[in-house]
Symmetry: C2
Subunit: 211 residues, 2 copies
């Protein structure tokens, strides 16, 4: 019905399963996924250019200087950034682009792209979130405590998001995020051209019948 | 996540397949369907109390006098109305209630229930709409011309709806309407209680870890 690409920002608490949700979403539906750049160490199995563009601090800071990111932020002592070129090219092609970014970056995006759709992934409740952080096993207790502190702070920012989607069952969560993006594309404000086309067509058809 | 019932208003051009979409939606998902009252003649196969509450003009006007409708309107010389009691009872129970009503009634509902979600079902284009009206076979040419005139007028009102959903393929259309209703329930503004609960829980959990 409409051909404009939607910019979709997905954030969420650490440990809530953002990465898995986004991976499934992109496998199942026709979204363009922006791969972030980061200075953090790759986790086991992560592939450069697929999971992240892994950069040194020097490389990252150089890209900042050259305006190579539409947003960048520091989170748990590492840089994260969204490369400008890919996002702008895909949106121009009419593709829906997904960014998986942290809260700071999301707020930054909303300022620059007021039509962006901000989705916050959350857990059914606080204890579930804690359990997920613990069972992840790749972080020590200190990091978990730090992430819970961060999660607590992020509850303040949740209200700036357009939608909150609970990740309880992975497949259901993926469908719910997809539903949000679909619904956004059906908003009347995004289909003004369709209305004027329909009006013109019906005006013509009526005249033909009356003749 | 939230327990409040959503009031969903579904309108659309005559011939667009509103009735079939709503029927499938209610069969497949857990919605409460409000059955309208009308003074128009039953079509073959329509069942009183299921498709409509069929009323005489006298009965209908009496119900208007007794405030028995949350909205009523006249359309192609017949009365249509939404019985008040059913809608208010279901919403109070936390159920999502679907109303299939005409444009006049929808505008009326939006005034009384600002949180209502207004969905307009439309055809892929004007010619498809004309073809559907013709192939329906239960109406003569005069009525078709009248309905096309009405459809043309209704394009003016489309912009007052929250969402436009195209009925091209029936099953896809049903999923799209369901997606819109799902998405509405995930809106941050409708989940303020969830945010404050999460904040409280995370605050407690952090203190336990620090101790």
């Amino acid at each position: 019905m409409n051909k404009k690409g939607v910019l979709i920002v997905i954030s969420g608490f650490s440990g809530v399963g953002k990465g898995t949700v986004v991976k499934k979403l992109v496998e199942k539906y026709d979204y363009s996924l922006s791969v972030s750049a980061t200075t953090r160490q790759p986790r086991p199995g992560e592939v450069d250019g697929k999971d992240y563009h892994f950069k040194t601090v020097e490389e990252f800071e150089n890209l900042i200087d050259y305006n190579g990111f539409i947003e960048w932020a520091q989170y748990v002592e590492n840089y994260y950034g969204t490369p400008r070129k890919y996002v702008e090219d895909e949106l121009a092609k009419g593709k829906n682009v997904i960014l998986e970014i942290e809260v700071q970056g999301a707020m930054n995006i909303k300022e620059q792209y007021p039509d962006a759709v901000l989705i916050f992934l959350t857990a059914p409740d606080g204890n579930t979130l804690k359990t997920r952080l613990e069972s992840r096993g790749t972080e020590d207790t200190k990091v978990i405590a730090k992430r819970l502190k961060r999660a607590f702070e992020e509850t303040e920012d949740m209200s700036h998001y357009d939608y909150l989607v609970v990740n309880d069952d992975l497949d259901i969560c993926v469908e719910h995020v997809h539903a949000v993006i679909l619904a956004e594309s059906f908003k009347t404000a995004k289909n003004i051209d369709y209305i004027s086309n329909m009006k013109e067509e019906l005006s013509k058809i009526r005249k033909e019948i009356t003749l």
